[in-house]
């Protein structure tokens, strides 16, 4: 399936881009994150387990156990600091 990825703030800077479209078989957000970590380099660093990373699924805050479906938009970003 095809999904849209969005990156923000320090994660966007570390990866050097803010969006990409990928083909994946990942069944959940956790599997997707692991798949990206497995790319190594900046991905392994920015999305490392133990690092504070929040995930949004289709523009709503999500738990990593959430299931992925074709056409989904997934955002990865650090804890939010607005207001």
């Amino acid at each position: 399936m095809k999904i849209q990825l969005r990156y923000f703030a320090s994660i966007r800077e570390a990866l050097g881009h803010g969006a990409e479209t990928i083909e994946t078989q990942a069944s959940s957000l956790a599997c997707l994150r692991d798949e990206l970590i497995a790319r190594g380099g900046a991905y392994a660093e920015a999305l490392a387990r133990g690092r504070a990373v929040r995930v949004a699924l289709n523009q709503a805050m999500a738990d990593e156990t959430a299931a992925l479906a074709d056409g989904a938009e997934v955002g990865f970003f650090p804890p939010v600091t607005g207001g």
């Binding site: 923000f8 703030a9 949004a56 709503a60 805050m61 970003f77 804890p79 600091t81 607005g82 207001g83």
Partner: protein, 157 residues
Amino acid sequence: MAERVSIQTQDFDLSAEVAALRQHHRGVGAVCSFIGTVRDRNEGQSVSTMELEHYPGMTEKAIEAMIDEAFRRFDILGARVIHRVGLLRPTDQIVLVAVSSAHRGESFQACEFLMDYLKTQAPFWKKEQTPDGARWVDARVSDDKALARWGIDARNA
């Protein structure tokens, strides 16, 4: 219905926003507002500018959902949230939350609820320029605790 959420680079006018909330409903007897501004110091360092990034689309949806929740929890008549993005300087306005109700208690509470909610659940990120270079602002555990008072688990910081 009046516009409830705006994400914008330009400044905003508190008087105009409060006037709109008052005129929107003849039962309004109280308007409570909060404005967040850019400080010239953070974490012991001077701050010359602050850049605000957000997640277009998600930001608006998240804040609309927060306002819906405020209407469920409190007996309020109107609400308005404006959040600026882009490059800001010390003393600049960042965010406005304003709420109207028949009596003061509900708007005071809803205003604080919305601000606590926004701090930990709306996708904004601040980057400060300091004498040592640029740095991303860290989320605060105290902001998660503030939201916990309303029975909501922030899980942000």
